[in-house]
Each structure stands twice: as structure tokens, then as C-alpha cells.
């Protein structure tokens, strides 16, 4: 009787502990494999930036060289493409972040008629496939048929990038605003600050991390956008358009150098912001 009870109590305990042990190591192994899978293409991009291909096809490993890192813009057109991308990304980030932050303030801080429709209008561009966004802008530009909308130019790319960035900025800033303690603003008002002063001295500094995050997101979405740009660029060449254009004749390794540099700069910025946040959290 006691022996039966003892084995009955012991059996599940044993299987549970075996399961826990396996669970720990199998899951750990899985995470390592998954991260390796995610990193693999990035490693390949970096690897082929130091490859020395024969001719223009940079698809097979041949020999190590640092030549392309020493002349990252040694391909005609690449510098202009990167410069165009940076210009569009900078301007679209600036404008979209401003417009989007204003919308987020209105949506979180005020109750008004039509808030539902405003939310819907902000949500829709994020739920529409990029190809439809690009294609519909193209048909509109073509049907207008006059400058500055047609022929397509850097200006039409900018219009498109601001459009798709606004929604992402609203969502990011809104999240930060929603988590904000309203008592802080009310305290400022109680102490005699007017709305304008309260906004700039209390609200704005508090939501600034959200605005910076939104701007970084907008910048990275803009600089890497290909699909919408493909429809609104005309003859203008951005960095992704340069990659697409040189794909058939062979992508020069300098493109991999720029791609790797963008990755390193982005990782560096994230690392910096983490250090910065830790320091301000400690202070």
C-alpha cells in the first residue's frame, strides 16, 4: 500500500525533472540556432564586402580584399544614390515626425468628435500592402500629369515617404503619451504654469524618448524603402533603387560595404542609446 503510493508520487516527479532538464537545454539550443538563422544573411553581406570577384557577379567567394572598403564610392552613381536616400530619409523623417507627433497629441490628450475616423485613417496605410500604396500614388501622379508631380522626381519620393511614415510615428508617440502620468502636468498647472509652458517644460521632455524612437523608426523605414520608391521614383536613384538596378548586371561589392556600414552605424546608435539610458536611469 505505502509502496504503491510512493511510486505513484515519484513517477511524475521524475518525468517532470527530466522534462525540465531537456526543456532548458533544448530551448537554449533552439534560441542559438534561430539567432544564427537571423544573422546568417547579415554575415553574408559583410563577407561579400571583402570579396574580390572576377567580373561583376559577386555571388561566389573568391579572395579576400579590402579594396572596396578603401573606396566605398568607387562605383559611378553609388554616391549620388546614397546621398539621395539620406536626403529623402532626413526630410521625410523631419516632416513625418512633426505631423505625426501633433496627431498623437490630439488623439491622446483630447476627446473630440471624429476621433474614430481619424484613428481609422491612420491605421489604413499600415494595413495596406506597400505595392498598393506605391501603385496608387503612381496613378495619381500620372493622372495629374504636371510638375511638380509629373514627371516623377525626388519630390514625389519624398511625398510618398512622408505618407507612410506618419502612421508609424503616430503609433510610436501615442504609446509613449498613453503611458505618461498626467498628474505631473496637473502639478505644473497648479503651480501656476500656463498650458504652453507646461507643454514645453513638462510634457515635451517626457515624451521626447518616444519622439526620438519614432524619428529613428521613420528614418530607417525611409532609407530602406524599395517597393513604394520603385513606383514613385521615375529616373531618380536611391540606394535601394541602385541595388535593384545593378542586380541584373551584377552588384558591385561596394554596395555590400555601404550595407554593412549602415548596419554598423544603426547598431552603434542603439548601443549608444542603451548606454545613455542606463546612465540617466542611474543619475
Amino acid at each position: 500500500m505505502t509502496a504503491v503510493a510512493a511510486t505513484a508520487a515519484k513517477a511524475p516527479a521524475l518525468s517532470v525533472s527530466v522534462r525540465r532538464l531537456l526543456d532548458r537545454y533544448v530551448l537554449r539550443l533552439y534560441v542559438i540556432l534561430a539567432v544564427a538563422y537571423l544573422m546568417l544573411p547579415i554575415v553574408v553581406i559583410a563577407l561579400f564586402s571583402v570579396n574580390d570577384p572576377i567580373g561583376r557577379s559577386n555571388f561566389a567567394w573568391r579572395a579576400f580584399t579590402l579594396d572596396h572598403w578603401l573606396s566605398p564610392f568607387g562605383v559611378p552613381g553609388l554616391f549620388d544614390a546614397v546621398a539621395t536616400s539620406l536626403r529623402v530619409a532626413f526630410l521625410s523623417t523631419l516632416i513625418a515626425t512633426t505631423l505625426g507627433t501633433l496627431i498623437a497629441l490630439a488623439l491622446v490628450r483630447y476627446q473630440f468628435r471624429g476621433a474614430g475616423s481619424a484613428n481609422l485613417l491612420i491605421f489604413l496605410p499600415m494595413a495596406t500592402p506597400e505595392i498598393v500604396l506605391g501603385a496608387s500614388l503612381l496613378t495619381m501622379f500620372v493622372s495629374i500629369g504636371e510638375p511638380p508631380f509629373f514627371p516623377l522626381s525626388e519630390f514625389t519620393i519624398l511625398i510618398a515617404h512622408i505618407m507612410f511614415n506618419i502612421s508609424f510615428v503616430v503609433v510610436t508617440v501615442r504609446a509613449r503619451l498613453a503611458g505618461l502620468d498626467r498628474n505631473l502636468e496637473e502639478a505644473a498647472m497648479d503651480l501656476g504654469a500656463n498650458e504652453w509652458t507646461t507643454f514645453w517644460k513638462v510634457t515635451f521632455p517626457l515624451i521626447l524618448p518616444g519622439i526620438v524612437a519614432a524619428a529613428l523608426l521613420a528614418f530607417s523605414l525611409s532609407i530602406d524603402d524599395f517597393v513604394i520608391t520603385n513606383f514613385t521614383a521615375g529616373r531618380t536613384v536611391t540606394f535601394p533603387m541602385f541595388i535593384w538596378g545593378s542586380y541584373r548586371i551584377g552588384i558591385p561589392p561596394q554596395v555590400n560595404v555601404i550595407g554593412t556600414l549602415i548596419f554598423l552605424i544603426a547598431v552603434g546608435l542603439v548601443a549608444l542609446s542603451v548606454v545613455f539610458q542606463r546612465r540617466s536611469a542611474r543619475a
Binding site: L38, F123, V142, D224
Partner: protein
């Protein structure tokens, strides 16, 4: 003060510039695209609008139904694959991440810091006929010399799977993290043990199917692969699927799974980059047709009709989804 007396104006004043931009460059273009689908003519001679051109729609659907079906198939397959890869990863980060949690999350989104096109082209190098993966496998004799993945549906689907994987991991992670982890532990304290025989059966079926698909893809014997997969799945299911997970944790994370599925499925459905770079003309999706109709053939009416159909199909799906689960959970995953 004007503003103090008319406070109701403030929110509208804040909204107007941004919403006008969206109205002018999202709503109006969408309307214009619908109008363009009733055009006839050409770029050189100009387009004329006539309601009689409604036949563009049935014609386009008829001519490109294969590509539409293919898009749904590829996007669906990629969504299922991203779920299968993402769930254990999100689970591990949320519950076993510990101090590495933030670093792991960063690594999940790290691919977004490199160019989308370059990432996709990397897969061309990796999956190439004598590339990183199949070169060694062929030398060792594991796969036949004539075997290839590049320029097949598998290459397109794996490209889509890789490119949109973070969109699946993040919402699942958020929903797991937000849910109370103690609920799963409480279930175990209340004697929720291993899930038997459900875990064995579910594991055997899921892994058997997966291995059978791999068998089809790589040209191995399907019954042998399926049987091997079923055995492995049965063992894994018996060992790892607990009742606490099936009855508590998994249902709690379903909103994240739904959000992730849409965030992967929508862009995958309209994608043409993966099919263009990794596939062949036989793997063209509806995005490739729209792209070439617009930018190569200048066939604006057909292209507009196709994009309009694509947009309506997706918005209907999203509307049903939003009605069921709310829009908040949709935007959650993209908030980074």
C-alpha cells in the same frame, strides 16, 4: 485669448496638417486608382474614362487567377512557417530570456538594420546551386547534383519567411510577456502534468506533415520521411507539451499569434521582391504582375484593377479581424 475661448479647435488644429497629408496622398490616390481601372487607351495617346470598361475586372481576374492563387498559397505557407519558427523563439525570450532578454530582442530585429534587398540577395548566395548550404551537401553526396532550391517556390517561400519573421516574433513575445507567467506555474501546481496522449498525437501529426513536406521538397521518399518525422514528433510532443502550456499559456498568447499572422500575411501577399530575386517566371506572384503591368508595360487599367482587388481583399480581411479582436493588438507588434 482666442484659443482659450475656443478650446474645441485645438485637437482639430493639431490633426489637420497630418490628416490632410494622408487624405491627399493615401485616400485620393486610392480613389484615383479605382478611376484608372476604368481607363482605356495608352500612355502615348492618353487615357479616357468610361464605365463600360468594367470588363477590365473579370478579364484581369481571369488572366491572372494563377498568380492570385499562388500569392495566397506562398503567403499562407510563409505565415505558417514564421509561426512555427517564431513561437518557440518568442517563448524562450519571454520566459527564459533572463538578463539576455533585451539583447535577444535586439537580435530579432537586427535584420531590419540592413537593406531588405541585400538580405534577400544574400539568400540567393546561401541557397545557390553550389552555395553555402548545397555546395557541401552535394560534395558529401547527401543531395543529388541536379538538385536545386533557387528559382523554385521553396526559395520564394523561404525568402518571405525570413524577411517577415520579426513581425511574427514581436507580437507573440509581447502577448506572452504581458500575460501572467504565474498562471502557467499555477496550472502545474494544480497538477497540470504532461499533455498525454494529446501531446504525443499532436507532435506526431505536426512533425510527420512537416517532414513529409521536406521529403517532397528535397526529393526523398515521402513515407519514410513522414514516419521518421512522426516518431520524432511523438517523442518531442510527449516530453515537451504540457497541459499547462496547451490549456493556459497558448490560449493567452493567441492575440499575439493573430496579430503576427496578419503582419506577415499582408506584406507577403503583395510582395514581389522575393519572387523576383529568388524565383523564376513560374513563381511570379500577383505583386510581380502589378509591378510589370505598371512599370514595364504601362498597362495602367489592368494594373489598377489588380491592385484595387488586392487592396479590397486585404482590407476586408483586416476589417473582419479588427471586428473580432480590435485594432490595438494589430499596431502593437509594429511598435518598436
Amino acid at each position: 485669448m482666442f484659443l482659450r475661448r475656443h478650446r474645441w479647435i485645438v485637437p482639430y488644429a493639431l490633426l489637420t496638417p497630418g490628416l490632410l497629408w494622408l487624405a491627399a496622398f493615401y485616400v485620393w490616390p486610392a480613389v484615383q486608382m479605382f478611376v484608372s481601372s476604368f481607363w482605356s487607351g495608352s500612355v502615348e495617346r492618353g487615357f479616357t474614362f468610361s464605365l463600360e470598361n468594367w470588363t477590365t475586372y473579370p478579364d484581369a481576374l481571369d488572366r491572372y487567377s494563377t498568380q492570385f492563387q499562388r500569392s495566397v498559397l506562398y503567403a499562407g505557407a510563409a505565415t505558417i512557417l514564421t509561426f512555427m519558427i517564431a513561437y518557440p523563439l518568442a517563448y524562450a525570450i519571454a520566459f527564459r530570456g533572463g538578463r539576455l532578454k533585451n539583447l535577444l530582442l535586439f537580435l530579432v530585429v537586427a535584420p531590419f538594420f540592413t537593406s531588405f534587398l541585400l538580405r534577400t540577395i544574400s539568400w540567393k548566395i546561401i541557397l545557390g546551386d553550389d552555395g553555402l548550404v548545397f555546395g557541401p551537401l552535394k560534395t558529401l553526396g547527401f543531395v543529388d547534383d541536379s538538385f536545386r532550391v533557387l528559382a523554385t517556390p521553396i526559395a520564394v517561400i523561404s525568402g518571405i519567411t525570413y524577411n517577415f519573421l520579426p513581425f511574427m516574433v514581436l507580437p507573440i513575445y509581447v502577448s506572452l510577456e504581458k500575460g501572467d507567467q504565474r498562471l502557467g506555474e499555477a496550472a502545474e501546481d494544480l497538477y497540470a502534468g504532461p499533455w498525454r496522449p494529446g501531446g504525443t498525437i499532436a507532435g506526431a501529426i505536426a512533425s510527420g506533415l512537416l517532414f513529409a513536406l521536406l521529403g517532397v521538397a528535397f526529393g526523398y521518399s515521402v513515407p519514410i520521411m513522414a514516419a521518421a518525422g512522426a516518431v520524432i514528433g511523438a517523442v518531442a510532443g510527449t516530453l515537451f507539451l504540457s497541459e499547462g502550456f496547451i490549456r493556459v499559456t497558448l490560449p493567452l498568447s493567441l492575440p499575439g499569434v493573430f496579430a503576427g499572422s496578419l503582419l506577415v500575411f499582408i506584406p507577403a501577399l503583395g510582395d514581389y521582391v522575393n519572387a523576383a530575386l529568388l524565383g523564376n517566371p513560374g513563381t511570379n506572384m500577383i505583386g510581380n504582375v502589378i509591378q510589370s503591368r505598371f512599370l514595364v508595360n504601362n498597362d495602367y487599367p489592368t494594373a489598377s484593377a489588380l491592385s484595387f482587388i488586392l487592396m479590397v481583399a486585404i482590407l476586408v480581411a483586416v476589417a473582419i479581424y479588427a471586428r473580432l479582436l480590435g485594432t490595438e493588438s494589430l499596431t502593437e507588434g509594429r511598435r518598436l
